[in-house]
Structure formats: structure tokens, C-alpha cells
């Protein structure tokens, strides 16, 4: 009797929390707008950011109250509901791209944003809920909205789905928040918010060392971001005082990125620079540390292999697909835009870090016996390519970096989906342990081959375009150094082909199933995995053959960015 009563009361508590969340959602909808005359529909705040987070919070509060047996029962409807909920942002972001909902003007100058909305948040210190999208953020937003349903479909059979899938949805909402935020404070809030669902994904669904991996992931990135935050606060107080709706009533400064950018541009254009040279360099370095750890670049990359190897498939897919790009996105969005002189100052350092990441990641890959760890290190290597694009200081290099972010965001989830399928059906990820997989799992073999080829940069697939563009940008700036990344691409081909050849083909007519299967015949992948991977494969081909679908927008942004920031219009 006692436990029954307790259950009833707990349900009341759940209703309390659900009610509160609804109230918060209501408040969000009626945030006082900064600009009263602006009556256009807000397509970003609630539909893209608020909706996934609120829905997942309610689902989590609901599911966590149930007993283990009931959880199994409600897992299916919750999964379906999560999937539908994740398709809504995808539909909206796709519609925004094709102008189905409203006519969006994507033809933007530097520091102009489409669908911009601004609401008062914390008046005293000049924080506003300011969101908007441009050519830098929109591809990332679309990518996130695209990957969340794909991830949910691919990992349909994950245990404890009643809480697992809502966490993926929440992760998606927080990631979109990072990309659309146009306020430094808001940006930081979402930046840290992404850690929490990821922490739980690793902690509850991870492998054997998940406790270590989850804590390392959280602490590593948190440390880096507090240094970044100190940089942001120092920057905040170094900006000139002003007055206006965006400025804090008490501090007289603002966290609004657009105001900050236009101030910085105005200063940098004139003879006087925004802040002294050493101040610029120090702040730039402080901000970059936060982003380089997230990227991750080589001296700071050690959290990534642990996190990836321990994370569940869905977590890895989102982590590699979108979360790493937060680092590159943040770099382009904040420090590079504000301190162009510091970019010139640090150009060689960034190039060196990029090259080291590229080379080191590739060499470490050669020695890996764990499939997932190899893929994780290959991510480090590919993120080095993005840094090379940035260090090239060429518009085409920046466009290449953007396209690399996008292409890697489609290819790497597929790599991890393949790894996840291995784990799921073969209970092992040791490269040497299984041979002749093509016999039992032809579908998996095909997807593996496809993903591996895409990742090593086969022409006509998305990855190739980005790598080619980076090489083109690299040449005029660094000349024959280009042989180094060129050689690394060969190494990449080596480890990918080697691992593929051993797992798929070797082993004679009968093959050699891994011992972890205990003599059972390994099955092929499930329907849901099939669906998820084929969609990823289709889009890899689409963006490989028609890169301009995404590249057009990125190009435009790059040109505007160079005009606005470097004042050059292309070197």
C-alpha cells in the first residue's frame, strides 16, 4: 500500500514539473521583443531550439518515473514520438532553405542575418535572446536537424529507448541553439548545455570504461570553456560603453554579437585597432583554446578517442557529426571575426596545429586495432584539415573549411553507424578479430566500404570536394608544404583500405567470425540501421556530385566575411 501511495504522489510531482516546463515554454513564447514593430513569425527560437528541448524534458520527466517493466512498454511510443518531434525541425529547416514557408533572403552581407529575432533576457548586463542564421550557421543547423532523426532511426533498438531517444533530441536542440545564438551569453549557455545530454549518453549507455570517459569528456571541455568564458568577459568589459536597447542598464556593455562585430569592424577599418596588439593576441588565444579543445586539435585531443570508444552509437554519431563542428563554428564566428590581426599573427601557429593534427591523427590511426578508435582518430585528422583551411587565409580555404564541416558531418555519422552495427551484431570492434564479413553481412560490408571510401576522399563523394578545395587554398600560401597533407591523404587511404580489406574480404571462403560471437552465425544489419545508413549514403553522393547546393551559401558567406573582416575581398 505504501509504495502505491508513493507512486501516486510521485506522479503528482511529475505533473508539477511538466506544468512548470509548460509555463517556461509559455514565457519563452511571450518574451518581450526588443523591436516592437517586428511582427514576423519567429521560426528559430521555439520551432528549432525550444521545441526539441522542451519536448525531450517532458518525455524524460515522464519516462524516468516509470518502473523498469513499464519503461519497456512505453519505449516504443516514446521513440515514435521522439522521431516525429525530431522531424519537425528538419521539415522547418528544409522549408526555410527552399523558401517554402516564407521568402528568406539568404543573400546576406557580413554581419547580416536571416530570420533575426531579438528578445530582452537579462536587461541589467545586456543579455538578449538573440537568434539568427547566416551562411555559416544555416548549413550546420540543417545538418543537426537532419542528423537527429537519422540517429534516432539508426539506433532504434538501443536499450532503454524511453530515455535514450529523448536525450538525443535534447542534444539536437542544444546544438541548434549554439549555431543560431547571436549573443555571447546565449552562445555560452548552449555551448555548455550540450555537455549535459552527452554526459548522460556516455554515462548510461557507454562501454566498459564509461564512467572514466564521461567524466573526462565533461571536465576536459568544461575547463577549456571556462577559459573561453574569461576571455569573453574580458572582451565584454573592454568594449566601449554605449547606450541602446542591447546595452546593459547597469554595465553599459553588451553581449550582442552583431553590435560587437560592427564595433570591431569599425575599429579595425580605421587606423586604430580594436584593443592593443598584445591584448588582441591574448584574448584570441583564450577564446581559441575553448574552440580548439572542442574541435579537437592535437595537443588537446585526448578526450575524443575515450569519449567516442565508450559512447553509444547515437552519441558518437552526434558527437562526431555536429558537436566537433561547434569548435570550428565558434572559431569562425567569434575570435576570427573580431581579431583579424591576431589571425594573421597566429597564422603559422594555426597552420602548424592543423598539420600536426592531420599527421598525428593519421599516424595514430595506422596503429589502431579498435575500429571505433581508428574512426575517432580519423576525425582528429579531418578536423586538422579545417584548421588548414582557416590558416590559409584564402576565401576558398574558408569555404573549404565550411564544406569540410558539412561533409564530415554527413560522412562521420555513417562511419560511426557502421562501427555501431559491428558492435551490435558482432559484439566486437577489433579489426583483426573478424574476417570475411562480406559473406554474412553483405549490407554492412557495402556500407562500410562506402563510408570508408567517402571518408578517405573518393571523388564524387562529399569529402573529396572539401579536401581538394583546401589543397587549392593551401598552395599559394605555403607552397611545397602541400606535400605533407598530400602524403597524409595517402596514409589515410592506407589505414582505411587496410582495415576494410581485413574485415570484409580476408579469411578464405568461410571467413572467420570473431570469437565474441561464440560460434553463432553473425546476422546482417537490421532494417532501421539499413534505413539510416542508406539515407546518409544518398546524401553523401548528392553533396559529392552537387556540392553547390550547400557550397553556394558558404561561398557567399565567405566572400562577405572577407570583405567585412579582412577588408580584402579575396587575396
Amino acid at each position: 500500500m505504501g509504495s502505491n501511495q508513493a507512486l501516486d504522489i510521485k506522479n503528482k510531482e511529475f505533473m508539477l514539473i511538466g506544468g512548470l516546463l509548460i509555463i517556461v515554454a509559455g514565457l519563452m513564447a511571450f518574451f518581450p521583443s526588443l523591436n516592437d514593430s517586428d511582427t514576423t513569425v519567429d521560426w528559430i527560437s521555439l520551432p528549432l531550439v525550444g521545441f526539441p528541448i522542451i519536448v525531450s524534458c517532458i518525455l524524460l520527466a515522464f519516462a524516468s518515473q516509470e518502473s523498469r517493466a513499464r519503461k519497456e512498454i512505453i519505449a516504443v511510443p516514446i521513440r515514435l514520438f521522439t522521431l516525429v518531434a525530431s522531424l519537425i525541425p528538419l521539415a522547418i529547416s528544409t522549408a526555410l532553405f527552399f523558401d517554402w514557408l516564407i521568402l528568406v533572403d539568404w543573400d546576406l552581407m557580413y554581419n547580416e542575418y536571416a530570420l533575426e529575432k531579438e528578445y530582452v533576457w537579462i536587461e541589467t548586463i545586456g543579455v538578449s535572446w538573440h537568434v539568427g542564421m547566416d551562411g555559416l550557421s544555416f548549413p550546420m543547423v540543417w545538418l543537426t536537424t537532419f542528423l537527429v532523426p537519422i540517429t534516432i532511426i539508426t539506433t532504434w533498438d538501443e536499450k532503454d529507448g524511453a530515455t535514450y531517444h529523448p536525450l538525443l533530441l535534447m542534444m539536437g536542440g542544444a546544438l541548434i541553439g549554439v549555431f543560431v545564438a547571436l549573443d555571447l551569453f546565449l552562445f555560452y549557455v548552449f555551448w555548455e548545455l550540450t555537455l549535459i545530454p552527452m554526459f548522460f549518453l556516455i554515462l548510461k549507455w557507454g562501454g566498459k570504461d564509461r564512467r572514466y570517459a564521461a567524466q573526462k569528456f565533461f571536465i576536459y571541455t568544461f575547463c577549456a570553456s571556462v577559459i573561453m568564458l574569461l576571455g569573453l568577459i574580458t572582451l565584454y568589459f573592454l568594449q566601449p560603453e554605449g547606450s541602446g536597447a542591447q546595452y546593459g542598464t547597469v554595465t553599459g556593455r553588451t553581449f550582442d554579437m552583431t553590435v560587437l562585430f560592427s564595433n570591431a569592424t569599425a575599429y579595425n577599418m580605421g587606423d586604430n585597432v580594436f584593443l592593443g596588439e598584445d591584448m588582441q593576441n591574448i584574448l584570441f588565444a583564450m577564446l581559441m583554446i575553448g574552440f580548439l579543445v572542442k574541435l579537437p586539435a592535437v595537443p588537446f585531443h585526448t578526450w575524443l578517442p575515450d569519449a567516442h570508444v565508450q559512447a553509444p552509437t547515437g552519441g558518437s554519431m552526434l558527437l562526431a557529426g555536429v558537436m566537433l563542428k561547434m569548435g570550428a563554428y565558434g572559431m569562425l564566428r567569434i575570435p576570427i571575426a573580431i581579431f583579424p590581426d591576431a589571425v594573421v599573427y597566429y597564422q603559422d601557429v594555426i597552420m602548424a596545429i592543423g598539420l600536426i593534427s592531420l599527421v598525428w591523427g593519421a599516424i595514430v590511426c595506422l596503429g589502431q586495432t579498435n575500429l571505433k578508435k581508428m574512426v575517432a582518430y580519423s576525425s582528429v585528422s579531418h578536423m586538422g584539415v579545417i584548421l588548414l583551411g582557416i590558416a590559409s587565409m584564402q576565401p576558398i580555404g574558408y569555404a573549404a573549411a565550411l564544406f569540410m564541416m558539412f561533409a564530415h558531418g554527413i560522412i562521420s555519422p555513417m562511419l560511426f553507424a557502421v562501427c555501431g552495427a559491428f558492435k551490435h551484431h558482432y559484439h566486437s570492434m577489433e579489426i583483426g578479430a573478424m574476417r570475411g564479413m562480406a559473406k554474412w553481412s553483405p549490407y554492412l560490408a557495402v556500407y562500410m566500404m562506402f563510408a570508408w571510401m567517402a571518408s578517405l576522399g573518393l571523388p564524387l563523394l562529399a569529402g573529396f570536394v572539401a579536401e581538394l578545395m583546401v589543397m587549392i587554398a593551401f598552395w599559394p600560401e605555403y607552397g611545397w608544404w602541400i606535400l605533407l597533407p598530400g602524403a597524409v591523404l595517402a596514409i589515410t587511404a592506407a589505414y582505411y583500405l587496410w582495415s576494410m580489406q581485413r574485415t570484409i574480404f580476408e579469411g578464405g571462403d568461410e571467413g572467420q567470425p570473431p570469437e565474441s560471437l561464440n560460434g553463432e552465425t553473425p546476422p546482417d544489419i537490421t532494417l532501421s540501421e539499413n534505413i539510416g545508413m542508406i539515407i546518409l549514403a544518398i546524401f553523401t553522393v548528392i553533396f559529392g556530385i552537387f556540392p553547390f547546393i550547400a557550397l553556394g551559401m558558404m561561398d557567399q558567406w565567405t566572400v562577405a566575411f572577407f570583405e567585412g573582416v579582412f577588408n580584402l575581398g579575396g587575396i
Binding site: S3, Q5, A6, I9, K10, E13, F14, L16, I17, L20, V24, A61, S64, Q65, W121, I122, E123, T124, I125, Y188, V189, E192, L193, L195, I196, F199, F200, L203, K204, R210, R211, A214, Q215, F218, I219, F222, C223, V226, I227, L229, L230, I233, T234, Y236, F237, L238, Q239, P240, E241, V250, T251, N272, V273, L275, G276, E277, D278, M279, I282
Partner: protein, 573 residues
């Protein structure tokens, strides 16, 4: 009546115990009435008083056979909670619109108390903390009202209901006096009133060894600290001939080394209360031995009380206008102490496996953060930084905000431990094992409190740490932007305190996260498999803390405004 404000505007000045006095201090009066009621109501009975030399017996009602209704052991708790709630409500309604008058209470020429935004702010903080703690205590130290045979523990619990809540209310009243005091002696009386009550509260569970031990330890260390502080006060009196805050502040610039020494001794007393290194050694023992709601009051309200002392003594009295070189030593001492305190607290918390000790050390670390903020105010006031007065105000407001939101998440964390104590001890990390599985909402609440303590956005803990650091950075940067290009060497050294704070909060994530990992990953230990005991009011208190933690993080504008008004009434600039 003499004009003590000195600014020329008309402050309402009332004589102590006059009609206006009672009007202005209605909430505090309610507290005292509540205290008297707890004394009287449980003792109402059918006793009669025989008028001498006659046979007439007049009903006297005090003593004899207690009435069933008023004699119920649940009455003191309800009375205390109701009293606190009423007083708190009155204060909040008064303070939230910001139209509160400043009222000064004098006795002859001596200013005793002053009710302004600053003191009201702290009173609200104290009452909120004590109210939440006493709500939780309704379940934590329950009154057993059912009929029939009771066990020895239950009888104990029933017998000490009145004592417990009398002590709680006394603590609240003492703290309110500290907030209101304008005279160091009055401040000290309030401090001792609250301290003596908390010494007893810490050792309240005298049948358990840990409780008695921690009570004695806390009492001995605390009374030594008070003694040193009192000695400092006597030296101050020797130097200035008065303990009035405004007199000492006015004459501080001319003081000799004796004044500086005396101030240092006074600071020892307050340093103990905020548990700053090296006076923090008793805190972990006291928190670990006390029952959790009381430990929560120590970590929040008692710390805020010490902070009032530090603000009054350091910011109002010492650290004078620019150019007084003797004061520089305070700045460096304070900066060093703050870094030592935050680092010591965090490093010690890394190694402690008792969640209550861990929270105690984290509380030490938080004291370090606030000392760093005070250093920054000092740097501003000492004239090292070119900045207008609102910079200092911003930092003080940030400290106040931090102290206030600590009530939400630190007390909340202690209350969750209190809920665990209801089914057994909470002094091992394993007591929390699998909490998220046993009771997902309580587990999530605890995790959110931990994240708030670590300073993860968008929770209140992030907001407060953010404001404190922003305050420090703003002081270090000052108005440098006016000079055109800014070089890194132009920035004042207090900027490094902000960096130290950030590195420390990065360290602290480790032990806060460990609690989360234990709650979500580990299997519950033997004997803790059943659902948590249900306590309506302790859960309600936890929910209030949780909602406050989230809401104050999402939109703290009202509270920030309140903090600014409070800091403004200190007249720092």
C-alpha cells in the same frame, strides 16, 4: 535629532521602542512573538491558581495537564514555520517593489540599527534559509503524534521539538540583528546570539557520537574565534573611543597601527563564520556531524552573516580613499587568502568521500570566491583602478546575488542529503548510489544542484559565478577602453583572481560530477533498495530550491535589481 546619514537627505530616524520603531520592525517583531508563542503554547494546560488565603481557584492555563491540541509535539514546528513564512512574506512584499524607506534606529546619539535595502536583503536571505530548513526539519526530526507506545528515539524526537524550533528562530533573530546593526557591538551581540544557537543545533543529536563531537568542536573553535574578535573590538574601542560604524569609518584614515591590528582580530571572528582559510577547519566537522538542514543553514545563512561582517568592516570601515599606503597590505593579504581559501577548499573536496564534508569544503571554496570579489572592491576603492563607483557596486551586488542563490542550491543539496538521512546516514558517498534509479526526480534535483554548484549554465550557480567574475574583470579593466588601444599590461592584477576562480571552478567540476556519476551509475547499497521515505514538507522544500535554482538562472533580473539596490544603500561610492 542629529543627522547621521551625512548626505543631507531626510532619513526617518526613530527612537528605539517608540511607536514608529514597532511599525518599521513589524517582521522582526513577528519573529519574536513567534518565539514567545513556542515558549507558551505547548505549556498551556488546566492548572489553576489558588488565590492565597481563599479557596478560590482561578484558571491559570500555564502548566498542569497539557491540553491535547496545544500540547501536540507537532505544534512548535508548525508555529515556527508559520512565523518564518509570515515574516518572510512581509519582507518580500516590502522589498520587491524597491520603495522601501530607510529607517534608522537611535538611542540618544548612538545609531543602533538601520533598516535599508541592504539589511532587508540579508534578512530575506536568512529567513528563507531558516524557513526551508525548518520545513525540512518537520520531516527530518518528525513529531510522532500517533497514539500508543513510542520507541525511545520517537520520544526523544517529541521531547525536543520545542527546543529545536526555539533555537531555529533564535538563529534567525540573531542573524537579522547582524544584518541591521550599525554598531559593531550590536553586530557582535547578534552574531553571538546566532552562533550560540547554532552551536547547540550542530550538536543537537546528542545520542549520536558524531553529533556531540561536532557540536563541541564547533563550539570550541567558534568561541575562540569570537573571543579573538571581541578582543579586536575592544582594541577598536581603545583606538576610536566608539564602536559606531560611521564614527570608525570617518576616523579610519587617521588611525594608528593599533586600528589595523584590531581590525585584523575582528576579521578572524568573521573569517570563521564565512569559513575562510585558515579558519575553516571546524566547518567540515560541524557540517558532517550536524543534521543536514542545520548544516545547510550553516553553509548558507551563517556564511552570509559572516559576509555582512566582512562587508561592513572591510568595505565600509577600512580600505579608505586613494593614497593610504598602509591599507595596501590588506589588499594583498585578502587576495592571497582568497586564492588559498578557494584552492584549499577545492583540493580538499576532491579527496573527501563524505558528501557532507565535500559540500563543506565546496562552501570553503565559495568563501574564497567571495573574498576575491571583496579584494576587487578594495582595488577599486584604494584607487588602483580608474573606475566610477558603480563598478564596486556591481561586485558587491554580485556577491549578494551569490550568497542568495547559494540558499537555493547549496541548501537544496543538503536537504536531499537530509532526505537520505531519514532512512539512515548520509555520510558516505555510497549512500547516494543509485539515487537516480530509486527516485529519479530527487536524483535529478540533486544533479541539478551539483551542476549549479559547479557553475554550469543556465542555472543560478552559473549566473552568480558569472556576475562575480564579471565584477572582478570589470574592476581590473576599468575604463581602459577610453584610452584607445589597450595593452595587456594595463590591466590590473586582480584580473588574475578571476583566472584563479575559473581554474578552481574547473577543478571543482570533478567532485560535483562524481556525485552525479554515483547517483546515476552505481547500484544502491544494501538496505537502500526501497523507495525513499516520503516527506511532504522536505520534498516541498527541495522543489522550492530546485525551481529557484532554475528560474534565478534563467531570469534573475528581479533578484539582480534587488542586489543592486542593496549594494547601493551601502553608499560605497
Amino acid at each position: 535629532m542629529s543627522e547621521h546619514g551625512g548626505d543631507g537627505f531626510d532619513l526617518p530616524i526613530v527612537e528605539v521602542f517608540s511607536t514608529d520603531f514597532w511599525k518599521a520592525f513589524a517582521p522582526e517583531t513577528i519573529l519574536i512573538c513567534g518565539l514567545l508563542m513556542i515558549f507558551i503554547i505547548p505549556n498551556l494546560g488546566n492548572s489553576k491558581f489558588r488565590i492565597p488565603l481563599t479557596k478560590v481557584r482561578v484558571p491559570w492555563f500555564l502548566g498542569g495537564r497539557r491540553f491535547k491540541l496545544t500540547g501536540s509535539p507537532a505544534i512548535p514546528g508548525i508555529l515556527a514555520t508559520g512565523t518564518l513564512f509570515t515574516a518572510l512574506g512581509m519582507m518580500v512584499i516590502e522589498a520587491i517593489d524597491g520603495k522601501m524607506d530607510t529607517t534608522t534606529v537611535v538611542s540618544g546619539d548612538i545609531i543602533i540599527l538601520q533598516m535599508d535595502n541592504f539589511s532587508r536583503f540579508f534578512e530575506i536571505l536568512f529567513l528563507a534559509a531558516v524557513l526551508l530548513a525548518s520545513m525540512a526539519s518537520l520531516d527530518r526530526i518528525p513529531a510522532h503524534t500517533f497514539e500508543g507506545k513510542k520507541s525511545l528515539e520517537e520520544m526523544y524526537d517529541n521531547r525536543r521539538q520545542a527546543d529545536f524550533y526555539i533555537l531555529m528562530l533564535t538563529t534567525a533573530i540573531g542573524m537579522c540583528i547582524v544584518a541591521l546593526a550599525q554598531d559593531l557591538f550590536v553586530l557582535f551581540v547578534g552574531l553571538e546570539l546566532a552562533s550560540l544557537a547554532t552551536y547547540v543545533l550542530v550538536g543537537f543529536h546528542k545520542e549520536s557520537k558524531a553529533g556531540a563531537e561536532s557540536g563541541v568542536k564547533y563550539f570550541i573553535v567558534g568561541s575562540v574565534a569570537s573571543g579573538v574578535g571581541l578582543y579586536g573590538l575592544s582594541l577598536l574601542y581603545l583606538e576610536f573611543g566608539s564602536l559606531q560604524l560611521h564614527t570608525i569609518a570617518a576616523n579610519w584614515a587617521d588611525s594608528t597601527i593599533l586600528g589595523t591590528l584590531a581590525l585584523g582580530l575582528v576579521l578572524v571572528g568573521f573569517g570563521f563564520k564565512v569559513s575562510a582559510a585558515p579558519f575553516h577547519f571546524a566547518a567540515p566537522d560541524a557540517y558532517a556531524g550536524a543534521n543536514s538542514p542545520v548544516a545547510g543553514v550553516l553553509a548558507t545563512a551563517s556564511k552570509a552573516m559572516g559576509m555582512i561582517g566582512l562587508i561592513r568592516v572591510l568595505l565600509v570601515i577600512a580600505l579608505p580613499e586613494a593614497g593610504a599606503d598602509e591599507s595596501a597590505i590588506w589588499l594583498y593579504t585578502l587576495a592571497t587568502l582568497s586564492v588559498i581559501t578557494m584552492t584549499w577548499g577545492n583540493v580538499a573536496a576532491l579527496g573527501s568521500t563524505n558528501p557532507k564534508r565535500m559540500l563543506a569544503y565546496s562552501s570553503v571554496a565559495h568563501a574564497g570566491y567571495m573574498l576575491a570579489a571583496l579584494t576587487a572592491v578594495g582595488a577599486w576603492k584604494w584607487g588602483e583602478v580608474e573606475a566610477p563607483g558603480d563598478y564596486a557596486e556591481a561586485i558587491v551586488a554580485a556577491v549578494l546575488f551569490h550568497l542568495f542563490v547559494l540558499v537555493a542550491f547549496k541548501l537544496g543539496a543538503f536537504l536531499v542529503l537530509g532526505l537520505l538521512e531519514m532512512e539512515g546516514g548520509a555520510s558516505r558517498l555510497s549512500a547516494l548510489s543509485g539515487l537516480a534509479r530509486r527516485d529519479p526526480l530527487i536524483g535529478t534535483a540533486m544533479f541539478i544542484f551539483m551542476l549549479a554548484l559547479a557553475g554550469v549554465p543556465p542555472l543560478a550557480g552559473f549566473m552568480s559565478k558569472f556576475l562575480v567574475i564579471a565584477g572582478i574583470v570589470s574592476t581590473s579593466v576599468g575604463e581602459l577602453w577610453m584610452n584607445g588601444t589597450v595593452s595587456f599590461s594595463d590591466i590590473h592584477w586582480v584580473w588574475w583572481l578571476a583566472l584563479a576562480m575559473f581554474i578552481n571552478s574547473a577543478i571543482s567540476v570533478f567532485y560535483y560530477l562524481r556525485i552525479g556519476v554515483v547517483m546515476f551509475l552505481d547500484v544502491p547499497e544494501e538496505g537502500r533498495r526501497k523507495p525513499l521515505p516520503y516527506g511532504a514538507s522536505i520534498r516541498m522544500a527541495i522543489w522550492i530550491c530546485l525551481v529557484a535554482t532554475i528560474l534565478l538562472g534563467l531570469s534573475g533580473d528581479t533578484l539582480i535589481d534587488m542586489c543592486y539596490r542593496a549594494a547601493d544603500s551601502l553608499n560605497l561610492a
